[in-house]
Structures are given as C-alpha cells and as structure tokens.
C-alpha cells in the first residue's frame, strides 16, 4: 500500500456548507482520489459535487495541487506528498448561446 500523506485541502466558498464553514481542512490519502474519498467520508455530500459516477473529476471542477492543475498531471490519480496543498475550485462559466 502506498503511504498515506497528510494534506491541507482548501475548500471554496460554495462547498463550505459541507464543512461547517471551514475554508481549510486536513485529509489523508496517497493521491487526489483518496483525499476526495476522505472528504466525502468526513463531509457527506461533497463528493458528488466533485466527481461523476465514474470517479473522474467533473468537467466544471478543477483541483490544484500546490498550484498545479491535476488535469495537467494524472487527474484523480495524481500522487500526493506529506504537506501538499490541495485546492478545489468550481468553475465560473456560462455563455450566451441559447
């Protein structure tokens, strides 16, 4: 088993209702997916906002590890080290096509 890492997760305003208002929480996991699993366990309901049924990140959710978008790395498989900072940010997006 890969070693679990303790990371800090930054929670965006729209998801803080799941964390009792906390903007920063601690979690453990050897990769991003495991940390998201841990979040869901601690804060039920937050997980489905982040991932689809296949476990992949939703199209309009971005996750950054130490400032780097995990889409440019290995997505939810992106490995984590102790002390990493995981930032979650839902998109601000839309359009004018009717």
């Amino acid at each position: 088993m890969p070693e679990e890492s303790g990371v800090t997760v930054l929670i965006p305003t729209p998801l803080r209702r799941f964390t009792g208002g906390e903007a920063k929480v601690s979690a453990t996991g050897s990769n991003v997916g495991e940390v998201l699993d841990a979040l869901e366990q601690a804060y039920p309901g937050i997980g489905e906002r982040l991932r689809d049924d296949s476990g992949q990140l939703r199209r309009f959710v971005n996750v950054f590890v130490n400032g780097q978008n995990v889409r440019d790395r290995d997505g939810v498989e992106t490995s984590l080290s102790n002390g990493d900072e995981v930032g979650i940010i839902p998109a601000m997006a839309g359009g004018s096509r009717v």
């Binding site: 305003t13 309009f60 978008n69 998109a91 839309g94 004018s96």
Partner: protein, 144 residues
C-alpha cells in the same frame, strides 16, 4: 425596497458603483466579439474591487474564468485583503442582459451575484444583476 437579511446578505439589491459598471462595459467592448469575464471582490456583500480575469473558453459565445486565476483570488489574494468574491460578471456581446440556459446550468456559486453586461444595443450597453440558485433566476436591483 427590501434589503438586508439577518445574515447580512442583500435580498434584492446589490450596490454596484457607477465606476465599476463603466469598467465592466469597457472590458466588454474591448473583448467583443468574445465574452469578457471577471469577479468583484467585496466585504459583507458590498463591492470593494473589480478584478478582470482571462476567459479560457473557446469561441465567442462562452466564458470560463481561468481557474488558475480563480484559485489565486479565492484562496490567497482576497483572504489577504479580508474580502471575498461577491459578484461574477461576464458579457453578452449580442444578446440581452439576462442569464442564458448555459449561465443557469453552470451557476456553481450560488452566493455570488451574477452581473451580465449586454452590448446587443451598441449605443446603450446594459448591465443587470441576478441571483442564480438551484436553477432559479431572480433579478437584483443594482444601485449606485
């Protein structure tokens, strides 16, 4: 006119200073025919500063704020200034200042006011504000 709930949130007005409206209109004109986008930072629901952002969406009919900028604003810059995102703005270069179906579907920030600037009438840009929550759109009155 109703105003402030016990949580301190504006129920149906949003104070948007004229200079910020002018900035939004100028940004919209500069980026047309593409949509422009940005956020307005503030405290207690009242705007303090406008931040233009990059639109990373493809084509002229969509916007998506660069998530790299967004993460920096949400988790670093604004908390350092003791402020938060109170509004999100974007332009509709050729359509009315009203949320499109896409705007409603992709409204993931229910606590923010969605400000839309229409350039459909070239001589008279229009700026309006909305709450978009759970698929429901309600207009907020923008005051100076």
């Amino acid at each position: 006119m109703t105003v402030v709930t016990s949580q301190g949130q504006s129920a149906d007005i949003f104070p948007l200073p004229q200079e910020m409206r002018d900035e939004i209109i100028a940004h919209a004109k500069r980026d047309a025919p593409r949509e422009c986008c940005g956020i307005i930072a503030g405290r207690d629901g009242a705007p303090t500063r406008l931040h233009e952002t990059r639109n990373i969406a493809e084509g002229n009919r969509f916007y998506e704020i660069d998530p790299r900028q967004l993460i920096d604003l949400e988790f670093r810059l604004l908390p350092e200034q003791d402020s938060e995102i109170v509004a999100i703005y974007h332009s509709h270069p050729e359509s009315p200042a009203f949320p499109s179906a896409t705007d409603v579907r992709l409204a993931f920030w229910p606590d923010a006011i969605y400000v839309i600037c229409s350039l459909a009438d070239g001589d008279r840009p229009e700026v309006r504000g909305f709450r978009i929550r759970d698929g429901e759109v309600s207009e907020v009155t923008l005051t100076d």
